[in-house]
Symmetry: C2
Subunit: 217 residues, 2 copies
């Protein structure tokens, strides 16, 4: 179904820069709002104004997805949406295990938005007996020891860490042992993993630190 | 209580670079884990190894907080924790209003961690009658129209947007009209605000896009 080499290269074989990748979901959200307002075409300068960017950069970003704008008409909004979703693999669903079913963990499981963006959380894990064997939005929460049995039924390449900070490393170790290929770490803790494992840190505390600093300047 | 010019400048008056600010919460979490393991001192090279960074950069980062390491002994862990917390204003609590009490909004209100990092959500706002007048973790949810009354009792400088994407801009407009100084936007939507308003975007979809891209390479 998926073309493994399709989504990180453009026609000339260049890898997509991470800043471009990071901007694409924002563009997508903007184009969806245009569509809802029945706007069919958008120019790179309109996009650039919305995102306070240079329009050359916008054109470059969008070129990676394979969409082409037309002079004086601009980009077709439907086409943009379709191409970005496909480029970002948001149209397929990647399975994920989530470890640490506390407030943030539950919220991510409940967050229907993630499914639209290509991620399906298929199981939760916790060490708290009060949480084990419960369900969150039809996703079952398992004890860590249940993994071996579960892995016969369902597999996942992505592991999400929403444990307390101090459990982040042991959770990562476990995930690697289980065959998880990419770890999405929501704790501010730095985790060590083998080189072939992908790690992405979402640190809301870093964002908060920036806000507080700017506020108190 | 607060010294407004204290936290973004070091002794010689230089502003703190944003990458440094962003790294400090991660260091803090690491130092807290050392403390729990009764480790009293840590060297910049140990810190550098944990974060896969150059130790010169670690030393530079920590210098901004005013903490000083000693040759051959390293940094005092207690001191590091104290200095970073104070430097990041995590020891005072800034009030915030949260707009959009859905899954993510509820999770942020429930997230006790934010309080330890300097943020107190004091009220929620929503347009859904089923949510208005309910409480989430002792935080009351108001209708938008209640703001005028509420503002006589409690004030906040930070506004958090956890609405559906398409409501982000109107929510931001409202926040600015209410006197909010800093907007923390959790939607992928780009928002336009006057220049004096601080905006910080937390885009978990961008992080997800990076993970999916690396996985499918």
């Amino acid at each position: 179904m998926k073309l493994p080499n399709n989504n990180m290269q453009k026609a000339d074989g260049q890898a997509v820069p991470e800043p471009t990748l990071r901007r694409l979901p924002g563009y997508l959200s903007f184009f969806k709002s245009l569509k809802i307002n029945n706007i069919e075409f958008v120019s790179s300068s309109q996009i650039a104004a919305t995102f306070k960017m240079d329009s050359t950069l916008v054109t470059k970003d969008l070129a990676y997805t394979g969409v082409k704008g037309r002079t004086k008409i601009g980009y077709n909004v439907d086409k943009l949406i379709e191409k970005i979703i496909s480029f970002l693999d948001f149209n397929t669903q990647e399975n994920a295990f989530l470890f640490g079913v506390g407030n943030l963990g539950k919220a991510l499981i409940n967050y229907e938005g993630l499914k639209q963006y290509g991620l399906r959380i298929v199981a939760g894990f916790d060490i708290n007996p009060a949480v084990i064997n419960t369900q969150v939005n039809e996703v079952k929460v398992y004890a860590v020891d249940d993994f071996r049995d579960l892995s016969r039924k369902v597999s996942a390449r992505i592991g999400i860490i929403t444990t307390p900070d101090l459990r982040a490393q042991e959770t990562a170790d476990l995930m690697v042992a289980w065959g998880i290929k990419a770890i999405w770490n929501f704790t501010p803790q730095s985790i060590k993993v083998p080189e072939n494992i992908i790690v992405e840190n979402t640190s809301i505390y870093s964002d908060l630190a920036v806000i507080l600093n700017k506020l108190n300047r």
